[in-house]
């Protein structure tokens, strides 16, 4: 069996290094690093720059930070933000946990049909929700208050959402699905014998729920609660609509006034963004390091279905509760938007004879003379941004996931961290970073800067979508392709991507939806001509009337609902739990 072994030609090191794989890896790694790191560094640096009295020159100093507690408005804004976040967290956690429990663990009727509707607010725009609730329950022109006065002949009003409570109410309704998703996954994956064994040792139903079930889902509840706290602290649209005009400033509304407008001060804006950013980073870190690892999802490999509790007559109460949530979070606001949008101006009175589609004509038909540019441009720009943004982000996400989970080199660790940073990071903070970074460059005031902001902030969502599938399919499938002689690129094209296709498409639609409703980044980075739908809504709300605003809001909502429908068809039921 002696065989002459041909002497191996020593390959030059730089040649060996220059493979398809490393080239793509390095390039993408650099792009991601620059996109994520640069705005953050600039943000930190800018926060230490102090604008002089004339507003032309800057010098280094801590004055911006001192202003955080000496300023007339900012300390109050920080306090209000804290109140809103805490309140929203409590409301969303209460709703999310109870809805998840009803759906996963009780014999609530038609739970399978309710489930998708519970998730709808997750995809819609909270800003639009705030506009709808303003029209439903503001003291003077709120539809519910008008009906209350008509029916009971009463004076005054029943509900008032134009304050911090209103912000908490609307944000809480919209962020309930965040908690719901965390908790329902945990409830469904729990091994039912954990509860069964408590029952057999003599614990009653209540005791089992309190001492076994609840502690086991606590990590999921805490995770959801923290995410809600952070997300609502960074939420701009709702406080902008319901709180700021009535004297309740928040951090986000303050950042907004410092970023645009007459008394713009980007450096002070950056400092306030730092506050929000630091809070976020700390809380997200706590969630990831202390809470997520404690989630006891016991996977025993045995297929099981969770214990279902027979509520008896109470199941109708549970059903009613769930239906009420869908009603106040989805049906009522959309109904109100639609009614208001049909009137030439909203006078808090439904006048059937006045109803027309005129507002839709003005906001949709961009070729007409009387169309409102901010709205019509916004629609076109949003579609351009959503389409190209989702596509670029998914390509990036694919390559990055591949590098993190398949290459496993030095770069993969760094990339993994880079991808975690933007997750949960308030859009408005990132937008401030992007703004101060690129304000001097030609991309400022173009769609490119918006695109950059969108992708940086949201591509990790797509990345996680892909990564979860990539982790589930065996690496050996890839490796055997390489064994059969395919190059790295061919393997990616012929094996990896086809396997990931459903995940890629689901991620794409998800990003498309997010981009179509994006407000906090757009509001900082837009300029005349580069409005988006949400900016259009903001413009109409500020400079036109409620009826026109509602028409554009309604349009956005309908488009989003269609996307949700497609997303569900493509991604299937389980897609969101990842």
């Amino acid at each position: 069996m002696a065989q002459a072994i041909a002497p191996v030609e020593p390959v030059q090191t730089w040649r060996r290094f220059l493979t398809q794989e490393t080239i793509v890896t390095v390039i993408v790694g650099l792009i991601v690093a620059v996109a994520v790191i640069l705005p953050l560094i600039t943000l930190v640096v800018s926060s230490f720059l102090v604008l002089d009295d004339l507003g032309f020159d800057t010098e280094w100093g801590l004055e911006n930070y001192i202003l955080l507690y000496t300023d007339r408005v900012i300390p109050k804004a920080i306090f209000n933000t804290f109140i809103i976040s805490s309140g929203t967290m409590i409301l969303a956690t209460f709703l999310g946990v109870s809805l998840a429990w009803i759906n996963a663990r009780t014999n609530c009727p038609w739970a399978d049909y309710l489930e998708p509707y519970n998730l709808i607010p997750f995809f819609l725009s909270p800003f639009v929700g705030a506009i709808a609730w303003h029209n439903l329950a503001s003291p003077r022109i709120g539809l519910l208050n008008v009906w209350y006065r008509d029916f009971f002949g009463a004076e005054g009003y029943l509900l008032n959402v134009d304050n911090l409570w209103g912000v908490i109410w609307v944000t809480g309704l919209f962020f309930t699905p965040l908690v719901y998703l965390f908790v329902i996954g945990s409830l469904r994956r729990m091994d039912p014998s954990l509860e069964d064994s408590a029952r057999t040792t003599g614990a009653g139903l209540l005791r089992t729920t309190l001492t076994i079930t609840l502690p086991l889902v606590t990590p999921a509840i805490l995770s959801g609660a923290i995410i809600v706290f952070v997300t609502s602290a960074g939420e701009f649209g709702v406080p902008f609509k319901l709180a700021a005009p009535y004297g309740w400033e928040t951090l986000t509304t303050q950042i907004f006034t410092k970023a645009v407008g007459d008394d713009a001060n980007h450096y002070l804006g950056a400092t306030m963004s730092m506050v929000l950013g630091v809070i976020t980073v700390i809380l997200i870190w706590v969630q990831r390091v202390y809470i997520a690892p404690r989630s006891y999802t016991t996977v025993t490999g045995k297929g099981f279905r969770p214990n279902v509790l027979d509520l008896g007559k109470w199941k109708w109460v549970a059903f009613g509760f769930n239906l009420s949530y869908i009603f106040v979070a989805v049906v009522l606001p959309i109904f109100c938007l639609f009614i208001v949008s049909l009137h030439p101006v909203w006078t808090a009175e439904i006048i059937p004879s006045d109803m027309s589609m005129n507002n839709y004509v003005k906001t949709l038909f961009w070729w007409r003379e009387d169309s409102i540019r901010a709205a019509t441009d916004g629609i076109i720009n949003s579609f351009i941004l959503a389409f190209s943004g989702a596509s670029i982000a998914m390509v990036l996400a694919l390559v990055v996931s591949y590098m993190i989970h398949r290459t496993k080199g030095f770069g993969s660790k760094v990339l993994d961290i880079l991808c975690v940073i933007p997750i949960g990071f308030p859009g408005i903070v990132l937008a401030m970073g992007v703004l101060v970074t690129y304000i001097q460059t030609p991309i400022y005031a173009t769609l490119w800067i918006l695109l950059l902001g969108y992708i940086t902030r949201f591509f990790p969502y797509g990345q996680r979508n892909i990564a979860s599938i990539m982790l589930a399919i065996s690496e050996e499938l890839d490796q055997s392709s390489r064994m059969s002689g395919a190059t790295w690129f061919t393997t990616l094209r012929r094996i990896t991507i086809p396997l990931l296709k459903p995940g890629i498409f689901a991620g794409w639609v998800l990003l498309f939806v997010i981009f179509l409703r994006e407000l906090s980044i757009s509001i900082i980075l837009y300029s005349t001509g580069t409005e988006t739908i949400s900016v259009g809504v903001y413009y109409l709300a500020n400079f036109e009337n409620e009826a026109l605003t509602s028409a554009l809001s309604m349009t956005q909502t309908v488009v989003l609902l269609i996307c949700i429908y497609i997303f569900r068809r493509v991604a299937g039921k389980e897609a969101l739990s990842a």
């Binding site: 014998s193 954990l194 069964d196 614990a203 009653g204």
Partner: protein, 367 residues
């Protein structure tokens, strides 16, 4: 022993439906106090369903279950005692150790429910942890335990309150072979020590043979046979049991004649041309009945020459040396026998041999 103790647990005509299939199809049995009964059967035959019905983890569709004079559940009398009122201990296949509690907290839980005094809880928990050999692990979290240790914790938790009944659902199936064999003995020792009436579910026949006082063999939601391990092995009542437990040579046949004291002659010419054999018949077998003759491999003896010309001629097809025995495949006609021989017989592939059946160990069973 009075009848009360003899029929400690009674399961009477138990039926459980899942949608349109009957998972348990009217089974009845009773257990003597303090004994160890095993439900044995292939996957999906309704063992877990039976156990869950006894534990009260689901409602039943017909029948009655009682322990002593307490009715646990009865469809007819519309009684359903919730699981926490039944005073049972249960060990699950996944162990179901609560991951948010330490070993000690897990084991103390049943006693806390029973509102015992803290000192007593402490004492009993320590005692039972010692019994299962986990005293050193008491303060560890469940997630830090190995499979075997989780198993012991689950057992400790099940027996700590000294329940009326102990239920096991395939508790050893997640362990590797070595540990499984060791835990079998251990489990049995502990059960003996505490003396709690136990029902054990498994699909592993050797586990059942080693541990049980009695075995119930189930298939498709019904009971096939109930007997002590030796009887289940040596006197299977039908073809199903004889091939499920251990290995058997099964030959289709017809009863030719009945002799006194349960003996008789069976024609097995459909399997091996022109052959009939003497075997044990059960009382209800009559001349002309279709039966299956079952012979264990270790009960077939082999000789080189056919001195009394009663042997069945065959040819060694394969001889696999197993250490303490040689597992042979011997063909006679179209039938292939499984035979265990002693290594000193020194059989080799291709040898011509003669097989002899001992009428005392040749059994006619119903097909």
């Amino acid at each position: 022993m009075n009848t009360e103790d003899k029929n400690y647990l009674v399961v009477d005509q138990l039926v459980k439906w899942f949608g349109s299939d009957r998972a348990v199809n009217g089974i009845s049995f009773s257990i003597e106090k303090g004994s160890f009964l095993t439900l044995l059967g292939p996957s999906g035959c309704g063992k877990t369903t039976t156990l869950m019905s006894i534990a009260g983890l689901h409602a039943i569709d017909a029948g009655e279950i009682r322990v002593g004079d307490t009715i646990y559940t009865s469809r007819e009398k519309k009684i359903f005692l919730p699981p926490e009122k039944r005073d049972i201990g249960m060990v699950f296949q996944s162990y179901a150790i609560w991951p948010h509690m330490t070993v000690k907290q897990n084991v103390a839980y049943p006693l806390e429910i029973r509102k015992l005094h803290a000192d007593e809880i402490d004492e009993r928990v320590n005692k039972v942890l010692e019994l299962v050999g986990l005293s050193e692990m008491a303060e560890k979290l469940a997630t830090q335990l190995s499979g075997g240790q989780q198993q012991r914790t689950a057992l400790a938790r099940a027996i700590v309150s000294n329940p009326r009944l102990l239920l096991f659902d395939e508790p050893l199936s997640n362990l590797d072979l070595k540990l499984r064999e060791q835990m079998r003995v251990e489990l049995k020792r502990i059960q003996n020590e505490v003396g709690i009436t136990s029902i054990y579910v498994t699909h592993d026949q050797s586990e059942a043979l080693v541990m049980s006082d009695e075995i119930i063999v189930m298939s498709k939601g019904r009971i096939e046979q109930r007997d002590p391990p030796l009887a289940v092995y040596s006197k299977p009542v039908n073809e199903y049991v004889s091939q499920f437990i251990g290995v058997a040579n099964l030959l289709k046949g017809k009863v030719l004649s009945e002799a006194e004291s349960g003996k008789g002659k069976v024609d097995i010419s459909t399997s091996i041309t022109g052959l009939s054999c003497d075997c044990l018949l059960s009382s209800e077998m009559k001349k002309g009945d279709e039966v299956v003759v079952s012979v264990r491999p270790e009960n077939v003896s082999v000789s080189r020459d056919n001195t009394d010309s009663s042997g069945i001629e065959g040819k060694v097809n394969a001889a696999i040396f197993m250490g303490n025995c040689v597992d042979c495949r011997i063909t006679s006609g179209s039938y292939e026998w499984k035979v265990l021989t002693h290594p000193r017989e020194n059989l080799n592939e291709g040898d011509r041999v003669f097989l002899h059946l001992d009428p005392e160990h040749t059994l006619a069973v119903t097909p």
